[in-house]
């Protein structure tokens, strides 16, 4: 096919204009929204309050988290455990079928103390996972959320070994460590986390320890509050009300 110099120049110009427009459009629409301009990281210190007595083990939180964050099947950023405790409280029976993404089968034994324990990353202030990361891909944000930089993580999995709570997993497609981000993309926009929003009983509530008006202060003052594995001294910021001594 013959092509004149004029046609070639015209087509090149058309191509440039089209690709430029497409790139500009992609930049506008294809990116995840950044933190709200009014959001100042230094003004927040995020954590979560969990009321054991309010959790009904419905699994809504697990489903919401999985959907919101595209969590790969078989891995969990949050899950719910059911404890069934007899007098031998040091050796409880625990289950969490598929992380309780479909809830739990009914408890058939009336002679046990049964309750649900939602679990997620504790967003520790002195986090062992942050300490061990060889390149600093895992870090605590200035507003107290433990995050993983997906473009920097080597996939060595040292952080997964170092987490005392089993909250991290190796993403089977991205080949990096992955975990709960406390829905950072939502909370920096003034929203709550997907799990808290989906909880029908208010058993899970996002809290901001730097906000003097946050209910967390009253929660911590007026309740029997505990964190998981306090002996690990990780500065965990997921606070449980009425946590049984058998919970690990």
């Amino acid at each position: 096919m013959e092509i004149t110099r004029r046609q070639l120049l015209t087509r090149c110009t058309q191509l440039l204009v089209l690709t430029g427009t497409a790139a500009a459009a992609l930049e506008k629409t294809g990116q995840a929204p950044g933190p709200d301009d009014t959001y100042h990281m230094a003004d927040h210190w995020w954590g979560m309050m969990i009321d054991i007595e309010k959790c009904i083990g419905c699994g809504n939180c697990v489903r919401a988290c999985s959907k919101e964050n595209n969590v790969p099947e078989g891995y969990f950023r949050t899950w719910v455990e059911r404890y069934q405790v007899t007098e031998d409280w040091e050796h409880p029976k625990v289950d969490s079928p598929d992380g309780a993404i479909h809830g739990f089968p009914a408890n058939t034994d009336p002679n046990v103390k049964s309750f649900f324990v939602p679990k997620l990353c504790n967003h520790c202030a002195d986090s062992p996972c942050v300490q061990v990361c060889p390149v600093g891909a895992t870090f605590v944000s200035p507003d107290g959320v433990v995050l993983v930089d997906p473009d920097y993580c080597l996939g060595c999995r040292y952080c997964i070994q170092a987490c005392p709570y089993g909250c991290r997993y190796f993403h089977p497609e991205k080949h990096i460590a992955d975990k709960c981000t406390l829905c950072y993309h939502r909370i920096t926009q003034g929203l709550t986390t997907a799990c808290c929003e989906a909880c029908p009983t208010g058993a899970r509530r996002l809290c901001d320890l730097k906000d003097p008006n946050d209910p967390v202060h009253e929660f911590l003052r007026n309740n029997m509050v505990h964190v998981l594995k306090p002996q690990m001294a990780t500065g965990a910021k997921v606070y449980y009300n009425n946590l049984d001594g058998s919970v690990r």
């Binding site: 891995y75 969990f76 899950w79 455990e81 050796h91 409880p92 029976k93 625990v94 289950d95 969490s96 598929d98 992380g99 679990k119 062992p128 942050v130 300490q131 061990v132 990361c133 060889p134 390149v135 600093g136 920097y152 993580c153 080597l154 996939g155 060595c156 999995r157 040292y158 997964i160 070994q161 170092a162 987490c163 005392p164 709570y165 089993g166 909250c167 991290r168 997993y169 190796f170 991205k174 080949h175 990096i176 690990m232 690990r248």
Partner: protein, 389 residues
């Protein structure tokens, strides 16, 4: 109930994170450190009997050191990012220092020591060989053809200093690998200050055993006489280091049993079930008590040369198996129980997978191939120095 899981595991714990390749990593670095420390016996501590193994031990250490980072690279989710450890190391991470410790050991200690020791041989080869080999040796001289007695004396002095620096470096290399595990407070199977010391002594034990087997094997292949004075000395050092290693491991075991903290029940169950074969049978009985008994017998009873030779080789091979089992029990065993102490999972080695048995076997054969090349290039044999004994 999830396949292979008993009791309750946190849902993300069912899958093991560190595989067979991570078992190889401390095993291979241990062989490096042990072989180097054996070489330093002759150089620094003037143990003349082990002289026939000196150069062989250095080349063995180099061959294994070159392979040491490969299992880690294969294991990483993003091996192409591993260089970030050099560019932006995270100072609080025990693992971040691996690259620097490795490079220090490879570049500053091993390569310099080997080069200084072989310099006269390399210059001689560069002057006498022809063709491609001549160019290879000329490159290895690094431009220095001076082998006058005065320059050799300088080589010797510098080599001595490098070896003196090398001993704490070898301790650092493997003690550090132990610290990577020993500092994980979330895992009671690993978290003990004894871990770096246990790793160090087990490294020395396995390295000495490996050099002994390679020395005897190479002598048989080359149909040269085995220096029994040397073999007796190496066997003696193997026995001593193994006694210390075993004592430390038993101290750890007794301490755990006596303290019996919250994890004890879980770990005790594991040792009696899922780790019974690899820990009790292979590591403790076959890989420790039996070789220790054999080595002790050589110290107490006068056997003939032929019997002693067989005993040393047999004990060394068992030792190598035992130390491998120890690495397995640390790395894999530390991931078989839940951090909730309420359940246990299983580990099945795949065959032709990225972290399977096949690449693991290839990675264990590779150092021997490298050693073969190194031995061809830099022959370590010193038959003329073998004395009657």
């Amino acid at each position: 109930m999830i396949n292979g899981v008993a009791g309750y595991m946190y849902p993300n714990e069912v899958e093991l994170q560190w595989s067979l390749l991570i078992v190889l990593y401390p095993y291979i670095t241990g062989l490096v450190a042990g072989a180097f420390i054996l070489a330093s016996l002759e150089r620094v501590f003037k143990v003349e009997e082990v002289r026939p193994t000196y150069r062989l031990a250095l080349l063995t250490a180099l061959a294994f050191l070159l392979v040491a980072p490969l299992p880690l690279q294969l294991h990483l989710g993003h091996p192409e990012r591993s260089f970030e450890m050099y560019l932006t190391p995270h100072r609080t991470s025990a693992m971040a220092m691996f690259g620097f410790v490795y490079l220090w050991y490879l570049m500053v200690v091993l390569l310099v020591e080997i080069w200084l020791d072989y310099r006269a041989d390399i210059v001689h080869q560069a002057q006498t060989r022809t063709g491609v080999m001549r160019w290879i040796y000329r490159a290895l001289t690094l431009g220095s053809q001076n082998v006058s007695p005065a320059s050799r004396r300088i080589d010797d002095k510098v080599g001595y200093v490098v070896t003196v620096i090398g001993i704490p470096s070898a301790f650092l290399l493997h003690g550090y690998v132990g610290f990577i595990f020993g500092s994980v407070k979330a895992n009671p199977w690993w978290s003990t200050p004894l871990m770096p010391v246990v790793f160090l002594f087990s490294a020395m034990t396995s390295g000495i055993a490996a050099v002994l087997v390679i020395y005897v094997g190479s002598s048989l292949l080359r149909r040269t006489r085995i220096d029994m004075r040397c073999l007796d000395a190496v066997g003696k050092y193997l026995f001593y280091t193994f006694v210390i290693d075993f004592s430390l491991e038993m101290l750890d075991l007794v301490h755990r049993t006596y303290e019996a903290d919250e994890s004890f029940r879980s770990l005790d169950f594991m040792v009696h079930t899922r780790l019974f074969i690899s820990q009790i049978v292979v590591q403790i009985f076959l890989g420790t008590l039996l070789p220790l008994g054999l080595l002790a017998a050589t110290q107490l009873v006068r056997f003939s040369d032929a019997i002693r030779r067989r005993i040393y080789v047999g004990a060394s091979l068992l030792t190598l198996v035992g130390i491998f089992a120890m690495r397995w029990n640390v790395v894999i065993g530390g991931q078989l129980f839940s951090k909730s102490f309420l359940g246990y999972t299983t580990y099945k080695v795949e065959f032709a997978a990225r972290e399977g048995l096949l690449p693991a076997l290839a990675l264990m054969i590779l150092p021997f191939v490298l050693l073969l090349v190194l031995v061809k290039l830099l022959p370590p044999w010193q038959e003329q120095e073998v004395t009657e004994g």
